[in-house]
Symmetry: C2
Subunit: 126 residues, 2 copies
Amino acid sequence: MEKIYQIGVEATLDVIGGKWKPLILCHLGKGPLRTGQLRRAIPQITQKVLTQQLRELEDDQIIDRHVFQQVPPKVVYQLTDYGKTLNQILVEMSIWGEQRIKRLQAAHPDEKIELLGDHQGYLEGH
Amino acid sequence: MEKIYQIGVEATLDVIGGKWKPLILCHLGKGPLRTGQLRRAIPQITQKVLTQQLRELEDDQIIDRHVFQQVPPKVVYQLTDYGKTLNQILVEMSIWGEQRIKRLQAAHPDEKIELLGDHQGYLEGH
DNA sequence: GTAAGTAGGTACTAAAAAGTGCCTATCCGA
DNA sequence: TCGGATAGGCACTTTTTAGTACCTACTTAC
C-alpha cells in the first residue's frame, strides 16, 4: 500500500471522507452500537457498504470491533481513543456545514436544500 | 439542484472534498494566484480538472475569479471572505493529518507513506 | 419445520469523479 | 510567419466509489 500526500488535509480526508463515514462516526460518537443498530440508524445504507466502511474505519484504528462469541452473533463497534481525537474537527465541520446550508437556503429559497434529522449531529455534549 | 444532507459535515465535505480542492485552497490561502501559477504549483493536475474545481469553488463562493480584459488573457483567483472562514478547519485537518501520516509511517516502516512538499500546508501564518 | 433475527460474503452493475487528447483565439517576439 | 504563452472548451476513457441481488450459518420461537 503506497500513500503519498501533498498536504496533511488529504490524509484526514482519507479517513473521514466518503459518503457514509461522517454519519457513521456521528452515531458512534454517542456511544457503542451493534451492527444492526447502526443499520437501523442509517436506513439508506446497504449492509455491504456499511460493513465495508466499518472495516476501513477499523483498519484506520478509528473504531474498535468487539465480537461476542455467541449465537446469534453479536458485534459492537465503538470509537477508539484515537478516533475520538477526530471529534473537534467533526464538530467544527458540522457547525460550518450547518451555516452553509442556511446560506444556501437563503440564496436559493426555491430549491430543495435540507438538513435532515434532529440536527444535533456532533453538536451535543461537546 | 437538490441537496439533502443528513448532517452538517456532509455539506462541508461537499465544498472541500475531492482530490484537489484542499491543495488548491492551500495555495490560494497564501494569496491570490493566476491560473498558470496554480497549474505550476500543482503540476499533476490537468487543466481540465483544475478549471472544473475552480468553477465549483467559485459557485460555492469560496473563491473569486477576476478576469482582466486583456490579451493574452489574465485571470486571478483568490479566497473570498467566506472562503477564509474555512481556514480554521483546514488548519486542524492539516495538523491531524500530519500526525496520522507519522503514525502510519511508524506502524508500517517498510511501506511508502509520504508527505510531500515543504509540509507547511496551512500551518504557516495562522 | 419454517420463519425471523444475527453479521457478513460475493459477483455484478451503475454512477460519480478524474484523466487524456486535441481544439480555439489572440498577441508578442524571434 | 511560426512558436510560445495566455485560459479554457469538448468528446471520450478510465478509475473509483457505491449500490443491487442473492448467498451462508446458527438458534430460538411459533
